[in-house]
């Protein structure tokens, strides 16, 4: 593995390898000294074009735990705001010879483009509404702590599927691990044609009882102004996961940040079924494992900087 661009490109074996590695980092994390020297002297660039708290902080911390040097470039206050193109920004950052570029972008396919323009390994930390593969991997990791296997598990993903990259990556990852996935939400927020991905679709929670895992998505307020749902009140009355709907043996997940009282009722967030805090913990070790696999993986000797590849970026010139 050179890049992690999406769950779509991942095999089950590659996912298993990352998850096993994450397990060993989880053990390191219980020691007093949590840092390992694996990536000493290597540079990791976090390039974030969207606000992010947990993904960015967990990538920063993961890199530091592996002893890498980290630079985080955020959209505000950088040349990105001065109108520099993604291609030119990547060319500039690539001049520091980073081992990896972690990118979050509001646009689908941005990580794939960056991978064409740099020699560094590229990790997709969210591209538009397309994919968020590190989230999906940490969710699978979290579930594996509680369920021995996802094979045959019944997982419901509930909420604004249309605008959720987490929904897409989790759907693919859960399916690859053998789970059966149902997408549930208002008809206006379930994209036309999504059944082609092999999932079931439901517009109500009537059959939620069959789920082993309930994965709630964040419901954003701006969806009201776009008439996707008439009101948050009606949305909550139909789709909110509360203690009445969530059974005692069902597990509850959410990618955060939670809108308390919208997609989740306050009491289920802190319920014993909730894995929400465990997900955040998993985020750190899974991202360490991803950095480790991409940057030290046995199938990838680190190339010396030789002649530039054909697709190397050249500012101002067509590639």
């Amino acid at each position: 593995m050179k890049h992690l661009l999406g769950v779509e490109e991942l095999s089950r074996e590659e996912m298993d390898r990352v998850l096993e590695r994450a397990q060993s980092f989880a053990e390191v994390g219980r020691r007093d000294i949590k840092k390992v020297p694996t990536l000493r002297g290597r540079t990791i660039v976090n390039l974030f074009y969207e606000a992010s708290t947990r993904t960015l902080s967990s990538f920063e911390l993961a890199a530091k735990r592996l002893s890498a040097d980290v630079v985080s470039v955020k959209s505000a206050g950088s040349s990105v705001d001065k109108g520099e193109s993604l291609k030119d920004t990547v060319a500039t950052l690539s001049a520091y010879d980073p081992a990896a570029i972690v990118i979050r972008s509001p646009h689908a396919g941005a990580a794939g483009l960056v991978a064409r323009w740099t020699e560094a390994s590229v990790i997709n930390a969210g591209d538009g509404k397309h994919e968020h593969p590190t989230q999906a991997l940490l969710d699978v990791f979290t579930l594996r702590q509680r369920l021995d296997s996802l094979d045959g598990a019944n997982i419901w993903i509930v909420g604004d599927v249309m605008h959720s990259r987490v929904a897409r990556s989790c759907l693919l990852a859960f399916q690859k691990m053998g789970a059966k996935v149902t997408l549930c939400g208002p008809p206006t927020l379930i994209p036309r044609g999504i059944e082609a991905l092999g999932c079931a679709v439901s517009y109500d929670l009537d059959a939620l009882g069959e789920a082993d895992v309930v994965y709630a998505l964040r419901m954003q307020r701006e969806r009201m102004s776009e008439s996707f749902v008439p009101s948050l009140r009606e949305y909550a009355s139909r789709y909110q996961i509360d203690s009445r709907r969530l059974g005692p043996r069902q597990l509850l997940m959410h990618p955060g940040p939670v809108n308390r009282g919208v997609e989740l009722s306050p009491e289920v967030i802190d319920s014993p079924q909730s894995l929400i805090t465990a997900q955040v913990e998993s985020g750190l070790v899974v991202r360490m494992a991803i950095l480790y696999e991409l940057l030290t993986g046995s199938d990838r000797a680190r190339p010396e900087r030789g002649p530039a590849p054909a697709d190397t970026p050249t500012i101002g010139q067509p590639a």
């Binding site: 193109s85 993604l86 646009h107 689908a108 396919g109 994919e131 994209p191």
Partner: protein, 459 residues
């Protein structure tokens, strides 16, 4: 060009097609396969062009000597009436970093075209006689093949007030269109259709309901669902076609529907034609050969409006082209600078270039596999001017030469030698296509010649 005089709705007017003046060609093509679906010609013959006119179509070896004429060995080559494209963007005025009249017409000639119709969504748009006059002046200096300029239907393409359509027509506008944008307001379009009785000129329509397509960047369907990108539903096109065909029927007006992309749109056109609406329409090479599966690559070269749709839509377009529901092929050649395309898909500019690959793409994907006969493709690629009053070129003695010479067996990789266009956002870039234009004679003049294509001169 002989076609220039045609298509006038009224008497003394400015010619509709403009190009750089030049000397008529003297040319003998020996032993090529001459194919003209209109005259039924399909034989190996010698083609003699004298002073820009087709002087004679002779038995092989029977061409007379013409002093100083170029002699082209045509064995194994196809000589076709050159193509007419009813829909290109030449980006003049204002966006010359994408294309200009010289590069755009050279690009067209290199694709076998002898005339193109340029859209008016320029910067500023062509919504006044002054702007129209300025681009026509430039065409007279820079265009290597005849260009017809469309003027806007509404001022500033804002969709609110009509342009001075009658004056624009007198100043040489070949037709009217706000292409690039739909005319969302039915009342405004209705006024334009009524005013057509005074001004003349077909009204060419970009059909899209902006409320239904808002935010969309690709076809709405399984692929957009998988990629998480907002979709443009097929019905955003077909509902506007249905509305506008009803208006055209009510007002007795002539409309030309641009770039059909979907099954439901073809069905609307078929219904409208059966009901007697004066409507013609076009489809592009990319909609006839590609589907939204190509967008899975997230390569912005596959971003255009209307978007690539499903295989079912593509098959319906092919069927429509075959049975005549779709009248002609149009490239919607839409050049963009690299920095507008080398960005994430959702941010990229809409449109692809197409003049240089239209024939080769359709020949490779539709003719060679036996989906469409070559004669039908040639017919649909040459008749694009007819809705605009431009007769299709013919291969017969006595007419101005509009001929393209094609090697139907030459396989080439698109883009490997660069492009004649200033831009290279071609959706076939990197693909191997069969069929290459070697030479184009437009309006009697040699407008393009493949550099490696050797010519002899008769002694």
């Amino acid at each position: 060009m002989n076609v220039a005089a045609n298509g006038s709705d009224r008497g003394a007017e400015a010619p509709r097609l403009i190009s750089r003046p030049g000397l008529g060609a003297n040319l003998i093509v020996r032993g090529a396969r001459l194919l003209d679906p209109r005259t039924g010609l399909d034989q190996v013959r010698d083609l003699v062009v004298r002073d820009g006119e087709i002087a004679e179509i002779a038995e092989p070896g029977g061409a007379p000597e013409v002093e100083g004429a170029e002699v082209v060995e045509g064995e194994g080559l196809l000589a076709l009436p050159a193509f007419v494209d009813p829909h290109v963007h030449l980006r003049v005025p204002g966006q010359e970093h994408k294309e200009d009249l010289e590069t755009g017409t050279r690009s067209a000639a290199s694709g076998g075209y002898c005339a193109v119709i340029a859209m008016a969504n320029t910067s500023p748009p062509i919504d006044s006689a002054a702007v129209l006059g300025s681009v026509r002046d430039r065409a007279e200096r820079e265009a290597s093949i005849p260009v017809g300029f469309v003027a806007n239907v509404t001022r500033g393409m804002a969709g609110q007030e009509l342009t001075e359509m009658a004056d624009l027509r007198d100043a040489g506008a070949i037709a009217f269109s706000d292409d690039g944008l739909p005319i969302a307001n039915a009342r405004v379009l209705r006024r334009a259709l009524q005013y057509q009785r005074l001004a003349g000129g077909v009204i060419a329509l970009h059909e899209e309901d902006p409320d239904l397509s808002a935010g969309g960047v690709m076809h709405e369907g399984e692929v957009s669902a998988a990629l998480g990108m907002a979709g443009v539903p097929a019905v955003s096109e077909s509902t506007m076609i249905a509305r506008n065909c009803s208006l055209a029927l009510y007002e007795g007006a002539r409309i030309h529907v641009q770039h059909l992309s979907a099954r439901v749109s073809v069905e609307e056109i078929a219904r409208a034609k059966a009901a007697g609406v004066q409507v013609t329409c076009e489809a592009t090479p990319h909609h006839l050969t590609l589907t939204d599966e190509a967008v899975r690559s997230l390569d912005a070269r596959f971003k255009m409006n209307p978007p690539l749709r499903t295989e079912d839509d593509r098959q319906t377009l092919i069927e429509g082209l075959r049975d005549g529901t779709i009248d002609c092929v149009a490239t919607d050649h839409a050049p963009h600078a690299s920095e507008e395309k080398e960005v994430p898909f959702e941010e990229a500019a809409w449109g692809v270039t197409g003049l240089e690959t239209a024939f080769a793409a359709l020949y490779t994907d539709l003719v060679l596999p036996g989906v469409l006969p070559l004669e039908l493709l040639v017919e649909r690629m040459t008749c694009g001017g007819e809705p605009f009053g431009i007769e299709a070129p013919r291969l017969e003695a006595g007419v101005t030469a509009n001929v393209t010479l094609i090697d139907p067996e030459l396989t080439w990789t698109v883009g490997e030698d660069g492009y004649e266009s200033r831009s290279y956002n071609n959706c076939f870039g990197g693909r191997e296509l069969t069929g290459r234009v070697l030479m184009t004679v437009a309006d009697g003049r040699v407008a393009f010649r493949q550099r490696s294509f050797a010519l002899g001169v008769a002694s």
